[in-house]
């Protein structure tokens, strides 16, 4: 996928003014966390369920190389052809090659974030293979060439008028309609013919299981089951961190991903594939390929701080609770991954220096890490990236400014540690600071921290401190009482 992270600020500014996006984000940020809570409350002890899924993901990442080998061994033993791809180009050309060798004219696809990351659709189309996304949200974003608005619901914000117009243009409907159900039914009818005559399907993977070589897909629409059932050839694309030790582990993660994603206890369909169809079976794929995509992840794995992002299970719950996402929506993130997990993942895939705006657009409130069922600590990584960016800018060594900054921080912490020093300091600093105030705001101090003021203003200080005003008030009310 072509990155538009460099347009973060302008896209965010534009989205803040789009009424429909704003109305929808308000609804999402109020409603989704409640649905999630209701879903989790079906566990007798939700905290224990969360602790367990975090432990499963932590262990899976710690044991990643051995689990991948075990998964490959078991999948291969059951007739799956495993393909390893170091980067996007290798994965894309392997999949196009599978299609071309079989004379495939079109494929249907189940929703898969990693295929968006590697730009698979574009590559297949350039190679002469037509691609039909089949998840309703993905159908819409594909036809309108839109980036994802949300990890799970990529087209939730798109006005029905726009969907109607593009459906008309593509011949999916013959009369305009803005009724969501009618648009959905039209997409159903349109894609049924594609499923029925399908020769090759492409899906992602929610969880891969080492002990059996099984891959699992979680969905509500049925497009993935149709894509896996109808054709002779099936390709499953997984980023390499998806593997867990056992089926029992996978089931617990499925329970957690559904509750955190949509608040459901279970999605309509959970399908578990272990090898191609057996002799005598009428449908199901004759050949199954699993493409294991690295695309930078083995380097992330070697990075002790960043490694934890590989625990993510793509439920999208972090976006639903993020105060920044709730204002700007998914477009500014500029890549396949939106919300806090995107803020943490995209810089690793696209480069720390290219994503400065992403990890600066964070208040460090910690709502994301608090609810993450995989145990990712997003704020700690966001702070880490900020520090790395500064180190990169300084050529890797601490310069005079950062040493001065450190000294200043020590001084401040001493002053803030003592109420006497603090009050004294505040009293003295006020008149000095206020000399730089313009129109009630201090936007910079000539010899002060320019970078700090680069994205912040300070309010001009009132003449009297809060403590002083409070004492005045107390004295005043005391008089009234007596």
């Amino acid at each position: 996928m072509h990155s538009r992270v460099d347009k973060f600020v302008e896209t965010a500014r534009r989205e803040l003014k789009v009424e429909l996006s704003q109305a929808f984000l308000l609804m999402l940020s109020l409603g989704a966390p409640i649905m999630r809570q209701i879903g989790l409350s079906s566990f007798p002890d939700p905290a224990a369920a969360e602790a367990y899924s975090r432990a499963v993901r932590a262990e899976a990442v710690d044991r990643l190389p051995e689990l991948l080998e075990e998964f490959e061994r078991n999948a291969t033993a059951r007739g799956v052809q495993v393909i390893w791809a170091r980067d996007a180009a290798e994965a894309n050309s392997a999949i196009l090659d599978i299609a071309q060798r079989r004379g495939i004219r079109y494929v249907t696809k189940g929703k898969s974030l990693v295929t968006e990351e590697i730009g698979l659709n574009e590559h297949l189309v350039e190679g002469g293979v037509e691609v039909f996304e089949t998840d309703l949200g993905e159908v819409i974003t594909q036809l309108l060439s839109l980036p994802p608005f949300h990890l799970v619901g990529p087209a939730l914000n798109v006005p029905p008028e726009e969907i109607s117009a593009v459906f008309l243009k593509k011949g999916i409907i013959s009369e305009p309609t803005t009724v969501p159900v009618e648009l959905g039914k039209a997409a159903r009818a349109y894609l049924r013919e594609k499923f029925r005559h399908l020769d090759m399907g492409i899906v992602g993977v929610n969880v891969a299981v080492a002990e059996t070589g099984t891959f699992i897909n979680v969905e509500n629409e049925g497009n993935i089951r149709l894509t896996k059932s109808s054709p002779k050839t099936l390709v499953a694309v997984m980023s390499l961190e998806k593997v867990v030790p056992t089926m029992a582990d996978a089931l617990h993660l499925v329970r957690m991903v559904c509750r955190n994603c949509t608040g459901q206890k279970l999605s309509s369909y959970v399908s578990m594939d272990t090898g191609p169809k057996k002799t005598g079976e009428i449908d199901g794929p004759e050949e199954v390929f699993i493409v294991i995509v690295d695309n930078g992840r083995s380097e992330i794995y070697r990075d002790p701080q960043a490694r934890q992002i590989l625990r993510c299970i793509r439920c999208g719950a972090c976006a639903n609770v993020c105060p920044v996402y709730a204002k700007i929506g998914g477009y500014p993130y500029g890549f396949a991954y939106t919300g806090p997990m995107g803020q943490v993942m995209n810089p690793l895939l696209l480069g720390i220096e290219a994503c400065s705006d992403l990890y600066r657009a964070c208040t460090l409130c910690g709502a994301c890490s608090k609810i993450c069922p995989a145990g990712v600590d997003h704020p700690s990584l966001i702070l880490e990236y900020r520090a790395r960016e500064i180190r990169l800018k300084n050529g890797g060594s601490a310069d005079f400014r950062s040493r001065a900054g450190k000294a200043l921080a020590s001084l401040l912490s001493m002053v803030m540690g003592s109420s006497l020093l603090w009050r004294l300091g505040v009293k003295c600093a006020r008149p000095v600071l206020n000399r730089f105030a313009r129109g009630g705001y201090i936007s910079g101090i000539p010899t002060g921290p320019q970078a700090w003021f680069g994205c912040r203003d300070l309010r001009a200080m009132p003449a009297r401190t809060f403590h002083e005003q409070w004492q005045d008030l107390q004295a005043g009310s005391g008089r009234e009482a007596s």
Binding site: A58, E59, T212, A248, S268, S271, T274
Partner: protein
Amino acid sequence: MNQDAREGILNRLKSAPRNNPDARPPKPVLSETGLDREGMLERFTSELTAQTGTTYRVQSGEEALAVLARIAAEEGLRSIIVAGKALPGMDLKAFGDREGVAVTAAPETADREALRQAAFTADAGVTFADFAVAETGTVGLIFRQDQPRLVSIAPPVHIAVIPVDKLHPVYEDVIGQVFGETDHIPSQFAFITGPSATADIQAVGFKGMHGPVKVFAIFVTGRE
């Protein structure tokens, strides 16, 4: 080249500093574990109802056919496709002749193309299911020669017939049986919970996106 990629990726992963995983906390308990049969049936019914599905309880194959006839009349079913191991007393061919419903036995279709033709045009798919799970009102299907995959996903209505002794409290009870014997793991196993659904446009939810619009579960309990 692929071997190079494999070695490259695995070597990089193996050369990374190794963390030893912490001991896991205790496995979380589930409220459904230990439910008795009546409790399981109640839980299954309320969960499937919440997904707009309908649950029936009958004592025999003959009674199940009567329920099937009622569903066929109410839904206006003129053709059904059938898969799985039929329960005693459930001769669906004879049922079709009697009720005026065209019945296709999925395992008897000639090939993939014939099966697709039948499954994508049938008004309903009837499956004799392998398992049911009370936890979420879920039906479990093992796909194999006599249970092709399309029967339960392509037609707009799915009717699952389940012997009540195949109903279990939680997923693990079923997964242990399906995946326990490593030499007999099916090519695909699916959990099905209610109809196909979406809410991708304006978060307006509706049933019947790509798969069935309606789901019925018929439990056959035997004479009590």
